[in-house]
């Protein structure tokens, strides 16, 4: 790649290894119901309290990808406190942003009423396609004060970098 075609990265790569301060989030029943409804969940353990209890759960069960709702809630909390969100920290530019990969490891269910702590680490930055795409990876964990680690996640986000102006 010569200098005339080099694209400039946008992510702040100096944030590699940064561990964002954990935030406590209360998992709300209404939020689980709304999220489940939009995804078209058919299993009533996600929206019907009686059905959830009949199936042996203490409350509504969060669907598998509810993890991201808790992360978004943590970012809202950071914004209220005047702290950078994770996206602001690594300097996401939504004009060029895409989601690369998402993976969850489930240790135990997340229930409505749980007050959980979520912590995130910026794990890496790398380039692909000769620098036309730049990636950032994160690892996060949702921990319950008594039940311990509930779910952990691995994520990559990417920028499709714009052509340099000549």
């Amino acid at each position: 790649m010569d200098a005339t075609t080099a694209r400039k990265g946008i992510f702040d790569r100096s944030t590699k290894g940064v561990q964002v301060d954990p935030v406590k989030i209360l998992v709300e029943r209404g939020r689980i119901r709304f999220f489940s409804q939009v995804l078209g969940q058919t299993d009533p353990v996600h929206f019907d309290l009686d059905a959830a209890r009949a199936a042996g759960h203490p409350d509504l069960v969060a669907p598998p990808s509810f993890f991201m709702v808790i992360e978004a809630s943590a970012n809202e909390e950071r914004r209220r406190r005047g702290i950078s969100t994770v996206q602001e920290l690594v300097q996401v530019d939504y004009r060029y942003l895409l989601h690369g990969e998402e993976r969850y490891f489930y240790e135990a269910p997340i229930y409505a009423g749980d007050e959980v702590e979520i912590g995130i680490v910026v794990t890496d930055f790398y380039d692909k396609k000769g620098g036309a795409m730049e990636f950032v990876t994160f690892e996060s964990r949702i921990v319950h004060p008594e039940r311990g680690l509930l779910v952990r996640s691995q994520r990559s986000l990417l920028h499709r970098l714009p052509e340099p102006r000549s």
């Binding site: 939020r31 709304f34 999220f35 409804q37 939009v38 995804l39 078209g40 969940q41 058919t42 299993d43 353990v45 996600h46 069960v61 669907p63 598998p64 990808s65 991201m68 709702v69 992360e71 978004a72 809630s73 970012n75 809202e76 939504y94 004009r95 060029y96 942003l97 895409l98 989601h99 690369g100 990969e101 998402e102 993976r103 969850y104 490891f105 489930y106 269910p109 691995q154 714009p162």
Partner: protein
């Protein structure tokens, strides 16, 4: 729980498919509100055009959430041990997405028997949008 007995599930067996869409702008607005992902590229066409995109596009995590349903509607959410996918192409507004899963492996881990499933989401024109795998525990 689905109709298939997990204990007798064979390698290569497909799970019942889930189809959703065509994905409307309303669905994208609702998903933004429900998930807390307010990225304007999914909900604000002015923002999308200013970014040089032809239109807004669907949240990858919307398809991800529906793709996970294929597995949990069959095995039960409590059996899910792992779920992951790569977002291999952009899901456009009005795409109709077919979500499929197939059992590919049976193995022992964590003191239990587990199944690994290949999961894939495909648009109406055959374009693959998500590709990944899931692990469930046998009861």
């Amino acid at each position: 729980m689905g109709a298939i007995d997990l204990k007798t599930a064979d390698i290569g067996s497909p799970l019942p498919e889930v189809i959703f869409g065509p994905i409307s702008r309303t669905t994208l607005a609702l998903y933004a509100g429900a998930s807390g992902d307010h990225n304007p590229a999914h909900i604000d066409i002015d923002f999308a055009r200013n970014a040089g995109l032809p239109d807004v596009f669907a949240h990858g995590m919307l398809s991800f959430g529906v793709l996970a349903r294929v597995v949990t509607q069959w095995a039960g959410v409590a059996a899910l041990r792992e779920f992951g996918a790569r977002f291999v192409s952009i899901t456009q507004v009005h795409d109709k997405i077919s979500c499929k899963a197939t059992i590919i492996e049976r193995f022992e881990a964590g003191g239990e028997t587990r199944l690994r499933l290949a999961v894939v989401a495909t648009a109406q024109d055959g374009r693959e949008t998500l590709n990944g795998d899931a692990v469930v525990a046998l009861a």
